[in-house]
């Protein structure tokens, strides 16, 4: 009974099992190798060598090795950038190439990296430890590094300006931020061109266009790119839209402000920076947290809203038209001055002002059927007011005090 029944399988099965053993060894080698193969090991080695060459071996020994990260708990950011970019605090590498370069010191004095991390200003993916994923642009990560290289891709007039977008996430309520020239330019334009006539910005403005307070949160998928050629990105969309609104949104009433390329690019950055990023209060000490009007602005607005031209302001005509005779100044000034509308309409269309308002043509037919819908009583008031404005204009003209007509 103490014998072994012969089995037909053992010979071949043993070889198969041996083969699988080899496969297991191969798989172990593969996954261990792929887990260890990262460029940061080389960068750390190279940086240590550079420190040793410049400051001696003793200093080099103090360069940390292994994965490094900055944990900024208030901003909930774990930035591993310093695994490769080890030089940020080392004086003496100001001229070195990345990732061995010293970070400009001045900005770090007010924005210590230990508190702010890296990505809150620079963008990029702090979780990642390899350059392609960390720098982007990469699929499924919408915050690429706001580098000059990316700026060049967009043919920015000022290549490095994209970074300022992230300054403005915290500094959004400042009128002027030191060092953020493109954003400052854009903010000036917002006031000069009167964007608030149509758009709510920071909680204040008109309702003809969409509320822009948090428009930076809008997902890239939510834009209509069907009329945009070239890059399909939210930023490219805004630049093109600011330059020629009607080319992207066919039925828009937003006027073309003839922005220069630089102005359009700066405004697009400003618009994309309007995000709902929760900024801890301690980070905003000393910075304004709302966007109040200056006393002069308030006074000018009060004058327009209560002066003789109040009706035109209330109705919304002033968005496009100044009525200079009544002291109403349009922010956009894209329509003719209504002070002389009574005469002007007659000479342009060969129709009386009553007739034109009842059956408008061109742009006015769009505006009066969608944005400003007037009842017949309101139309009668409009005609009445326009006649008054014209009378006032003639009176001022005779007295020689008439303001120059806009447009």
């Amino acid at each position: 009974m103490e014998k072994r029944t012969s089995a037909p399988f053992s010979r071949r099965d043993r070889w198969t099992l041996a083969g699988i053993g080899v496969a297991l060894i191969i798989s172990t080698v593969l996954f261990v190798r792929s887990d260890r193969a990262h460029d940061w090991r080389y960068y750390q080695y190279e940086f240590k060598n550079r420190v040793a060459a410049k400051f001696g071996a003793e200093k080099a020994a103090s360069v940390p090795s292994g994965l490094q990260q900055i944990w900024a708990p208030e901003l909930q950011r774990a930035d591993r950038c310093i695994t490769c970019h080890q030089a940020i605090h080392w004086k003496g590498f100001e001229q070195a190439e990345e990732p061995y370069r010293t970070h400009p010191e001045r900005i770090l004095r007010t924005h210590p990296v230990e508190r702010y991390g890296c990505t809150s200003c620079h963008g990029g993916q702090g979780y990642a430890i390899d350059a392609p994923e960390a720098h982007g642009p990469i699929e499924h990560w919408e915050e690429p590094l706001l580098s000059s290289a990316l700026g060049q891709e967009y043919s920015l007039v000022e290549k490095g300006a994209l970074l300022q977008m992230n300054c403005n996430v915290c500094h959004r309520y400042e009128r002027e931020t030191k060092g953020a020239d493109a954003i400052n330019l854009a903010k000036r334009l917002v006031n000069e061109k009167g964007c608030r006539a149509c758009h709510v910005i920071n909680g204040r403005g008109g309702s003809i266009g969409p509320d822009l307070t948090f428009v930076g949160e809008k997902a890239p998928e939510q834009y209509d790119y069907s009329h945009l050629s070239g890059q399909k990105t939210a930023y490219a969309w805004h630049v093109a839209h600011l330059k020629e609104p009607r080319a992207l949104v066919l039925d828009t009433v937003m006027p073309n402000f003839n922005f220069t390329t630089k102005e359009a690019q700066s405004l697009a950055m400003l618009v994309l920076s309007w995000r709902r990023e929760p900024v801890p209060a301690s980070f905003l000490a000393g910075a304004p947290r709302t966007d109040p009007q200056t006393p002069e602005e308030k006074e000018a607005e009060r004058k327009m809203a209560t002066g003789p031209g109040a009706w035109f302001v209330k109705t919304g005509c002033f968005v496009c038209h100044s009525i200079s005779a009544l002291g109403v100044k349009s922010p956009a000034q894209i329509g003719p001055d209504l002070s002389v509308a009574v005469e002007d309409v007659q000479s342009r269309f060969g129709r009386t002002i009553d007739d034109f308002l009842n059956a408008p043509t061109g742009t006015m037919s769009v505006v009066l059927s969608r944005q400003i819908i007037l009842s017949s009583e309101e139309k009668a008031i409009a005609v009445q007011k326009l006649r008054e404005a014209f009378a006032e204009y003639q009176k001022q003209k005779a007295a020689g005090t008439a303001a120059p007509l806009s447009h």
Partner: protein
């Protein structure tokens, strides 16, 4: 092991009770049938195997070992799931970041996660293929043995397939990225098409009316405790039933002896109870319904093959996971629907049917979610479950590939499977934005980015 005195000098050695010997490990190369049998009796892990296995049931070509592959994948899922359990944080605020950490900075993290994901997807496929094999060979039919109830093991199997799908589906949500969020949105919206109680079912699944923290913690608890526990219990029952039903159906033919064979009583065959009866057990007479030349010792012939299949599966998944990383999309955003929003691939045939049966005829609309999401899969599952009782083919058809007597039902089954497969392929590879049809070689419209 060859130097074992008991094995080399059996005649001079005083007979000892089998199953009670000082060695801690079993021999992988037993020198006698008794030593091979001892391993089964004396080892905790091996005791679930029979002492002898029929050669027919070990054949590669009959079972394709798909059940063992499924079990190997389940083992791999448990093993790779354990480290993930320590690393993943099931909270809306942190889940995504914790998966990013697993992906980028945890040692071997990306590989563990990929192994888990691959094993999960492959397990859905392996379990389904196993079901196909069992159907096509009629292995749910009872053969010649006494008290066989293979039909109930089939029902258990259908239940295990559903549990596998649910496990995979609940795991889908845990990374809390766009893929997770919207796949679960599609899946649970289909559930809400159930008549009368649909919205309530969805609310029960989600723990509210939107996918949020309550959903995440529900899916998490289901994924790591409830469903694996249930699957483990069913798995144990499934294995037990195989032993009770006399092994694989293919082996039924081998066991058909004209008469019961009388095995000569052996002087060493004794009963031992936990070794109490060392060397003094009563000798009994034994009978067998199995012809001795049709069997091999389970150890090592069966265990070696199991090792081949289990380790082979592990090696294959492990190598795949090195080269194909698991995707992680943007953080979940309820306000932005990716276009297209797709269910997990094994539900895409349903999503395809849902869209194809959503027809508007004037004011009259066919509710596709009801037809494709509830009625059709419900019908298919009911039919699958009941099939052993509807299949009237003779018992001799059990355990053979494509027997003449089961040709029609096998053909119908294959046609249905092919239809499901075709719809899955269309849903996976040919559906682009707005569920429009694109050939795999046609490019989709460019996906927009922020900057």
């Amino acid at each position: 092991m060859r130097g074992d005195p008991m094995a080399t000098k059996p005649t001079t050695q005083k007979p000892q009770a089998p199953g009670v010997h000082p060695r801690r490990l079993w021999s992988i190369q037993p020198v006698s049938d008794r030593q091979a049998g001892d391993a089964v009796v004396s080892n905790f892990i091996l005791h679930w195997f029979p002492a002898k296995a029929l050669k027919d049931s070990l054949a590669w070509r009959y079972s394709l070992w798909l059940g063992t592959i499924s079990a190997a994948l389940l083992l791999l899922l448990v093993l790779s799931g354990l480290p993930l359990l320590f690393l993943h944080v099931p909270s809306v605020e942190r889940a995504y970041a914790s998966v990013k950490d697993i992906e980028y900075v945890v040692t071997f993290g990306y590989w563990i996660r990929s192994v888990h994901r691959f094993a999960a997807h492959l397990m859905v496929a392996a379990v389904f293929l196993h079901l196909m094999r069992v159907f096509l060979t009629g292995a749910y039919k009872n053969g010649v043995g006494q008290n066989q109830h293979r039909e109930w093991n089939w029902v258990l199997g259908v239940g295990m397939l559903l549990l596998t799908l649910l496990l995979s589906f609940t795991g889908y949500l845990l990374p809390w990225d766009q893929l997770a969020f919207w796949a679960v949105t599609v899946g649970t919206n289909i559930a809400s098409a159930v008549p009368l109680v649909g919205p309530q079912i969805r609310e029960l699944l989600l723990g509210g009316r939107a996918i949020d923290q309550p959903t995440l913690i529900r899916f998490y608890a289901l994924h790591v405790i409830v469903l694996p526990g249930a699957l483990g219990a069913l798995f144990a029952y499934h294995m037990w039933r195989i032993r009770k039903d006399g092994g694989l159906a293919s082996a039924d033919h081998g066991t058909r002896l004209p008469t019961r064979a009388d095995c000569s009583p052996s002087s060493t065959k004794t009963y031992t109870l936990l070794g109490v009866a060392r060397g003094t057990g009563p000798t009994i007479r034994a009978f067998s319904t199995e012809a001795p030349n049709l069997t091999v010792n389970s150890i090592p012939d069966l265990t070696r093959r199991i090792a081949i299949v289990v380790l082979g599966t592990i090696a294959a998944v492990s190598i795949l996971a090195v080269f194909v990383h698991s995707p992680l999309e943007e953080p979940a955003n309820p306000l932005v629907t990716p276009n297209p929003a797709k269910a997990p691939w094994y539900f895409l045939w349903l999503q395809e049917i849902v869209t194809d049966t959503t027809i508007k005829l004037g004011s009259w609309t066919v509710n596709g979610a009801l037809v494709g999401g509830v009625i059709l899969p419900g019908l298919l599952i009911a039919l699958l479950t009941a099939w052993p009782w509807l299949d009237k083919s003779p018992g001799a058809a059990a355990g053979r590939w494509f027997p003449q007597t089961r040709r029609t039902q096998n053909l119908v089954f294959l046609v249905l499977v092919l239809a499901v497969l075709a719809l899955t392929l269309v849903g996976t590879f040919c559906r682009g934005p707005y569920w429009n049809f694109y050939w795999p070689w046609q490019s989709w419209p460019e996906l927009p980015r922020r900057i």
